[in-house]
Amino acid sequence: MLRTKSNIRYQIIINVIMMLVTLIMVAPLILLFISSVSSEKSLLVNGYSYIPKELSLDAYRYIFSNRQTIFRAYGITIIVTIIGTTCNVMLSAMMGYALSVKKLPFRNIINFYIFFTMLFSGGLVPSYLMWANTFHIKNTLLALILPNFLLSAMNVILVRTNYTTSIPEALYEAAKIDGASYLQIFTKVVFPMGKPILVTIGLFSGLTYWNDWTNGLYYINDPKLYSIQNLLNKMIQDVQALQANASAAGSGAAMQIPTVSVRMAIAFVAILPILIIYPFLQKYFAEGVALGAVKG
């Protein structure tokens, strides 16, 4: 682009606008962090603020002294995310590979069977009744893993398309002449070659599990099995319930509530892993969005 006066002026204007947009995007997250390191007193007296009167790490100290609940919830989120994402990626890879073999008999019927799940859904009620009353997953770890997120048709289709377009047919033929079975072709050739797409869908699957609070809301009421998101959800509900009952029950119960800064600290800790990996994996996130590897 020419460095004319009007071009430079235009660059300045759009950069200023985009800086403002960037600020709007990031500022709320900064408030979350600052509230988590504000002292409880300054939060209660002056409210949430970007410039707190007093800083304090009490909230984080509290988290460490309450390992049983908070570390446990964090651990559950980590376990669920790892198991769920691994299953999702493995299942998507296996299905995507099998369906990328063009000669597979009944391939079209199977493709339709998978695709139809994207068009029509039974909705929450029958799904809830099935998981809760037929499979009895309520208050088990499975409730956080199985419903909805273990596998999505979109991921299978993305892997299938990727394998068919990026891995040349000749490669399959060559492998077959060498006497390799379909399973060997998958483990030795396709799986290692097609890793980027698996990273992309894995990233979004992981994000879905990490951020999910709905399965916990539907199926878990045992605090021992709360994920970090469910713990956060519960904490904000408890505050409301306690506030509603405060006049009736007196203020004795108020001592039990995690304080304002602690809640913000837990919320910040909950998004911390995402903030840490995001800069490194930004490319995959952007690619996933472009491909549509996002569920709902």
Binding site: V21, M25, G122, L124, P126, N148, Y182, I271, V289, A290
Partner: protein
């Protein structure tokens, strides 16, 4: 002359070679059967008087009773809210997304470009529960930044945000835009990068202003992807983001008139005593209308640009 390719006849020996592939498909197919197909059949629960003891299939039929109850009482409100919010979200999402995409692609510095792209997608990655905490930090009646910082400084009285319905259409729209606009922007950026640079060079030689280039080149070139995105969104116009409408207003009953959508209604009715009938009816309605809309939207997309259609 073209010769028709004869499909080789399927014999046991050829079929045997594919068994490993079927075994690889099996776990996923079973999962889809359980997670998706069984609930599809279970949708008939909307026509039943559900009893836990008898299960979905054993429960007695009750005709359209559940629907009668739903449409006499709550249907108008939840359908109105779901549709209106979605219409606003679709329009604003498109306008803001396209505007940001144009601005970002015009930014000269590569490093700044990357920074902006990263920043706008960031809120998309944050869980809605955490978003509700952030909104609470701004709007809490006692400690919120808006009441304590902004309104107090301006000498205005504090607002009880979580009990005043009139503000929530704006709050929810803003939160939705903040969280979701990065997603659309990235898609439109991909669309703009795909436009042939020769168009812009020719326009520049003719002395077309930047604005003229946007209206005469960028926007017309984006039309197919705009229509596709809009149609896909219209296909989902009967579903709403449960987290946004349930979690962000913190399940506050005073706000139901403007925050109750089909999805929150289905959940709340399902969890309330004796609410399963109307919950199932609302869910059935949502599934069927959603299915029709998705099919219709796809039909239109296929007419406009074949490669963007889902099928």
């Amino acid at each position: 002359m073209k010769t028709k390719k004869q499909k080789p006849r399927l014999t046991w020996t050829t079929f045997k070679g594919y068994i490993p592939l079927y075994l690889m498909l099996l776990p996923g197919l079973v999962y889809f059967f359980i997670n998706n197909y069984i609930p599809m059949a279970g949708i008939i629960v909307a026509f039943k008087k559900y009893s836990k003891r008898k299960g979905i299939y054993g429960s007695d039929w009750c005709g359209l009773k559940n629907f009668e109850f739903l449409f006499k009482n709550d249907a108008a409100l939840i359908i109105r809210n779901t549709l209106l919010y979605n219409i606003v979200f679709i329009i604003l999402g498109m306008v803001v997304g396209v505007a940001l995409a144009i601005l970002i692609t015009d930014v000269y510095s590569k490093r700044c470009k990357k920074l902006y792209q990263s920043a706008i997608l960031l809120p998309f990655l944050v869980s809605i529960v955490v978003v509700s905490y952030i909104v609470f930090a701004f709007l809490s009646a006692e400690n919120g930044m808006v009441n304590n910082g902004l309104l107090k400084a301006l000498g205005l009285p504090a607002v009880q945000w979580y009990v005043e319905p009139k503000y929530w259409p704006f709050i929810l729209t803003f939160v939705n835009l903040w969280k979701g606009c990065g997603y659309g922007t990235l898609i439109y950026i991909a669309g703009i990068t795909g436009i042939d640079p020769a168009f812009y060079e020719a326009a520049r030689l003719d002395g077309a202003s930047r604005w003229k280039q946007v209206t005469n080149i960028t926007l017309p070139c984006l039309v197919p992807s705009l229509i596709t995105m809009t149609m896909l969104n219209i296909g989902h116009i009967f579903s709403s983001d449960f987290g946004l409408f349930y979690q962000v207003p913190q399940n506050s009953g005073a706000l139901f008139s403007v925050t109750q959508t089909i999805d929150t209604y289905v959940y709340r009715a399902l969890m309330s005593a004796g609410g399963i009938g109307r919950s199932a009816a609302a869910g059935f309605f949502q599934s069927i209308v959603g299915f029709i809309l998705v099919m219709g939207a796809n039909l239109i997309v296929r007419k406009i640009s074949r490669e963007n259609a889902m099928f």
